[in-house]
Amino acid sequence: MAWLTEFGAIAAMQAFNGLSVFCVLLLMALGLAIIFGQMGVINMAHGEFLTVGAYTTYVLSGLTLHYAPSLQPYYFFLAIVVAFVIAGALGWLVEWAMISRLYHRPLDTLLATWGLSLVMQQALRSIFGAREVSAELPEWLMGSFSLTDAIDIPRNGLFTVAVTLLLTGGLFLLLFRSRWGLHVRATMQNRVMSRAVGIDTRRVDRMTFALGCGVAGVAGAVFTTIGSTGPTAGSLYIVDTFLTVVFGGAASLLGTIASAFAIAQTQSISEFFMSGSMAKVLTLSAVILILLLRPQGLFASKVRK
């Protein structure tokens, strides 16, 4: 009987692991999905906005430790907000300076933002140095809840799940229940008509892009609890992010969620039964096979030209 309870405990933890991998993938992909889905723009510098969020957290952790050590347990909430604002503002700037001039040439935005990512990486390296840094995390984020003797639920995992749920919910409300969201969707469906009915489509574009970048910043802040912070950290995530968005069908937010879930579960379950490397190859092969059979991804029909 003992092995059964143990098996149950492992199954529970494994299920939670699948859930947290799903949330990580989704967090990464959300910003990209918004920008690509709503604007048709591919932001290759997405990973670097993520890194900006991570470094913001690092800087803030240093500042609180230095100036207000008593607030150290709570700075992380502030860090998330500030990461959102800084990455968002940066995105706003980039949209104004670069993207807005390239809307009629989507392939070129891809190349230009790639250039941007090189510049941002080197800038981060010049400012913070090439070495990885570690943000001092509040104690309540580390460690785990022991539900039973055998089941440990990591706190940072729970935190990631909570942030993801809030963020995704918020985005859905924003896009499908707010006036602004209506404008965004209208612009996406028919730019000319939207302008005709008085929507400031330029402003909508700029805000959408900034929002996507801001979400990347939040993801970056959250990832300091589970991963590394370095100038090229964003490039570690960007690859999975793109796969998630493509697999989901690039224009659909729901597709992104479904694809993040599918990839996360496949990966997490197969990792349990084989070496991590083989699991990755298996997952990727499945993704590519399905993409070849159904190139438009799981959910999108709009990309058909």
Binding site: I42, L107, L110, A112, G115, R304
Partner: protein
């Protein structure tokens, strides 16, 4: 004869341009540069194969593949497998547990040459595989995506995903592929030592000759009816389709052609540099190669070569002198070229070149007129 040249090489100006490039690559570089720098130029020229292919499929076909590194890499790996087998004869690998197989297999406890490697004992098969394997892959991808009319941007991302997956596969299957290290320490081609200066000169010329051949082939295709159809497709795909043409087949064709060019470049790279590694297959090199084409001008086959040379010279120069600045410059170059010079150097030349020409001619005419007057 003259009319054939006119028709297929782009008239007097086109032929002249090709001759100038041939002169530069075949005469000027070998005379001016020492063996080391010439070998470097040779390496850059292998990237130019990819850029030339990209001009065809991106500039004219409107298909931006962000996975050309896959084909470059596959071509290179096929060649590397042949060379590695030749370098791993039982005598020179006798300290291994299993002599006669490549060293990295021995490190990975493989005791028998895998079936996948067997055919690469044959040089004929290798040459066929260098072009064949990438083309078949391009054909499958192209068929799957274009027949379903996947959009431009989407195609780019899928090719990128493929580049990523292939990298992970190569790195992960290190017993078969050498993993991150790649296939290194290649020595001879059919018994001929490829590491000597003399061999490097010969390979350089073979490489340059092949590149010029690819450019001529590209020009020939662009001048044919197919070339005009490609242009028409890029600008109004629906109309070409409604006129009864099978658009997707043309797209698949030009994608396969670009893949074949890249693969030849990859194989020549392996021969000249002496190894192949997964760092050419991934996303980063694939996108860098796009920028070579973009800098040169996405509509100019010759421009692609100049773009490749220029960016790589810049990279070498700046990374030797100011390594910190290099990434800023490279990134800045991407942004500036894409935003302000969509047709690259060739566009600048087309705009200002003739004017320069005309201005000089006008000045000459004026001078002549002045001479006549008194």
């Amino acid at each position: 004869m003259m009319t054939v040249l006119d028709k297929y090489l782009g008239g007097r100006q086109g032929t002249l341009g090709l001759l100038v490039l041939a002169l530069l690559v075949l005469v000027v570089f070998p005379l001016v540069l020492d063996a080391f720098r010439l070998n470097m130029v040779g390496k850059y020229l292998t990237y130019a194969f990819v850029a030339v292919g990209l001009v065809l499929c991106w500039g004219y076909g409107g298909i931006l593949s962000l996975g050309q590194g896959v084909f470059f890499g596959l071509g290179g790996y096929c060649m590397a497998m042949f060379l590695k087998l030749e370098a791993s004869d039982p005598l020179s690998t006798k300290i291994q547990t299993t002599p006669g197989i490549p060293d990295f297999m021995d490190w990975n406890q493989i005791t028998e040459l895998p079936a996948m490697w067997q055919p690469f004992h044959s040089f004929g098969f290798t040459v066929a595989a260098v072009v064949g394997v990438p083309v078949v892959l391009a054909w499958v991808i192209g068929l799957a995506l274009f027949k379903r009319r996947v959009g431009d941007v989407y195609f780019s991302i899928v090719t990128q995903a493929i580049a990523l997956i292939l990298t992970v596969l190569i790195v992960g299957q290190q017993g078969l592929t050498g993993g991150v290290n790649g296939i290194t320490d290649l020595k001879t081609l059919l018994g001929w030592d490829i590491r000597t200066d003399q061999a490097k000169y010969l390979l350089y010329f073979a490489n340059a000759g092949l590149l010029l051949g690819c450019i001529v082939l590209g020009k020939f295709i662009l001048a044919s009816k197919l070339g005009r159809l490609l242009l028409a497709m890029r600008d109004k795909e629906e109309r070409v389709r409604f006129s009864g043409y099978d658009v997707s087949s043309f797209k698949v064709f030009v994608f396969c052609l670009a893949a074949a060019f890249s693969a030849i470049g990859g194989a020549m790279f392996t021969l000249q540099v002496g190894f192949m590694s997964p760092s050419f297959v991934g996303i980063v090199p694939s996108i860098e190669m796009v920028i070579f084409a973009a800098v040169g001008g996405r509509l100019s086959l010759l421009g692609a070569v100049y773009g490749t040379l220029l960016v790589n010279f810049g990279k070498t120069y700046f990374s030797e002198s100011f390594p910190e600045l290099w990434l800023y410059l490279m990134g800045g170059l991407f942004i500036v070229v894409v935003m302000y010079l969509p047709n690259g150097l060739a566009g600048v030349w087309a705009k200002h070149g003739p004017r320069l020409w005309a201005w000089r001619r006008a000045r000459a005419a004026k001078a002549a007129a002045l001479e006549v007057q008194p």
